[in-house]
């Protein structure tokens, strides 16, 4: 298949709905399994930090949340560009989905950071560079959320949010630099692509597991919300009606066996996780 045809199909809600059925259950089970393993490993089996003692275990919550918070905003910018420049319909749905998810991750990163700060720095809240940058990120999410809520028409809301997200992404490096203008007392980034982490493997391995789990959760959330939104938006279209009339009944997260009669069976096939 040539690239252009493939690209076009990627933007087609119907096609996406068809292929993404198995993805959703895969990502969700993977996410829950990884998060469970990483958390138990980190809480019970990783060695305590020689300076911070056991309070360092908050890292297994804090770092995945902080990484999600940033990557989701970057994704918002990418989705915004796809929507505004290439007019890709799905990107609007991605945008709609990611805002609350990213807001949750950012809030968790700030909350866990504050809790970690108390035993480590002796204060719940310190306006250091990275903390402040994350706070500003939360404000950026608030802005997107408020804008989306203020515009009644979903398509127009998506486009407005797309533009704001792009402006925000361009601004993020400047914001980061400006808040680092103050002296910073945060520890350096835990994972860098170029250098090996300074932590021993017994400490960073569970972190890696949790980070992967968090990204799987993001993927599962994205796929699930997209499938939902597609069905809702396209509910008058031919293929969704066929789906409901039982000719191809696979509504819901998991691909289900073909069932000849549609009506009552759908109610039992409960949704999601």
């Amino acid at each position: 298949m040539n690239f252009k045809a493939w690209w076009h199909r990627l933007g087609s809600p119907k096609w996406f709905y068809r292929v993404s059925g198995p993805w959703q259950s895969l990502f969700l089970s993977l996410a829950l399994a990884l998060l469970a393993i990483g958390t138990v490993w980190g809480l019970a089996f990783a060695p305590p930090d020689y300076q911070q003692g056991n309070s360092f275990r908050i890292i297994y919550v804090h770092v995945p949340a902080a990484m999600l918070a940033q990557s989701v905003y970057l994704l918002l910018g990418v989705a915004g560009a796809l929507l505004l420049v290439w007019r890709m319909k799905l990107a609007g749905l991605v945008l709609e989905t990611l805002v609350p998810f990213g807001m949750g991750a950012t809030a968790l990163a700030l909350f866990s950071g504050a809790i970690w700060g108390k035993p480590t720095w002796g204060a719940w809240w310190v306006f250091d560079g990275r903390t402040t940058a994350t706070l500003v990120l939360l404000f950026l999410y608030f802005g997107l959320h408020a804008l989306r809520r203020a515009i009644p028409d979903p398509a127009a809301a998506s486009r407005a949010c797309a533009l704001l997200a792009i402006v925000g992404v361009i601004n993020i490096p400047i914001i980061k630099y400006s808040v680092h203008w103050w002296t910073t007392l945060h520890q350096g980034a835990t994972f860098k692509l170029t250098t090996a982490p300074a932590m021993p493997a017994a400490m960073w391995a569970p972190l890696l597991v949790n980070v992967l789990g968090a990204y799987c959760l993001l993927a599962a959330n994205l796929v699930a919300k997209l499938r939902n939104a597609i069905l809702r938006r396209e509910r008058s279209s031919r293929w969704v009606r066929d789906l409901m009339d039982g000719s191809q009944p696979s509504i819901g997260p998991a691909p289900s066996p073909n069932r000849p009669s549609a009506a009552p069976s759908h109610s039992q096939r409960s949704a999601a996780p």
Binding site: L84, V136, L137, F139, L140, F142, G143, A146, L147, A150, I151, D153, A156, R159, A160, L163, L164, I166, V167, G168, I170, N171, I174, I175, Y177, S178, V179, W181
Partner: protein
């Protein structure tokens, strides 16, 4: 196109002087409230003055931005603007330039008065003025994107503040930092370069974003 738009907007400002003056009055008023609120403790007021002035400038600018496209939106001129004002880049720039003259530049000229009221150290004044001169264009340019996105939405003022506060933050940080350094007798070159850099970046990029945002808002209504 820039000149045409500039002249038209300038006439509009002259025709509704009160509306254009309100943000400046607000700036003056809020500064007096701070001076009174500090209760005559002039040392502490002087220390806080750089932050107070910059934050108030930010807020007063928000008030002015909120009205940037409102009238045009209400009487339908905005639709004409989006359809026929070509090139959009220059037209948008003309509009924002007038807003900056009426607000950012005016606030910069008003700043010495505020500095007196708030007991800012005399050494900091040149840096403050230069910082405002270099920083307020960025506030207006970035703010125009937000104003274009929120035009015609209910509760636009608070929404606009919510959208713009994080985007305006770097200007605030560098502006206050420059003023503090200036007050301490240091050269605030780095921060001033940053302010200028942000303004230049905003000058080249935001007019496109503002034009796109206006199109979205006009199609929406």
């Amino acid at each position: 196109m820039f000149a045409v738009q500039f002249r038209r907007e300038w006439l509009c400002v002259l025709r509704s002087k009160d509306e254009a003056l309100n943000p400046l009055v607000f700036l003056f008023l809020a500064a007096s409230l701070f001076a009174i609120g500090f209760g005559g403790s002039s040392d502490r007021l002087g220390e806080a003055a750089p932050a107070i002035i910059w934050v108030l400038v930010l807020l007063a600018n928000l008030l002015s931005l909120e009205a940037l496209f409102r009238r045009d939106f209400e009487d339908g001129a905005l639709e004409q603007f989006v359809l026929f004002a070509q090139p959009q880049f220059a037209a948008v720039l003309g509009k924002v330039a007038v807003q900056w003259c009426a607000c950012g530049l005016a606030m910069t000229l008003l700043a010495p008065l505020l500095a007196l009221m708030l007991n800012l150290s005399a050494a900091a004044l040149p840096t403050l003025l230069l910082g405002l001169l270099l920083g307020t264009p960025a506030l207006s340019l970035i703010g125009a994107v937000g104003a274009a996105l929120t035009v015609g939405l209910g509760g636009g003022g608070v929404l606009l503040a919510l959208l713009l506060a994080p985007l305006h933050l770097p200007v605030l940080v560098f502006g206050v930092s420059a003023t503090l350094d200036g007050g301490a007798g240091l050269a605030a070159t780095a921060q001033l370069y940053w302010l200028a850099g942000i303004s230049v970046l905003a000058l080249t990029l935001t007019p496109f974003a503002t034009a796109a945002a206006l199109r979205i808002s006009v199609e929406r209504s």
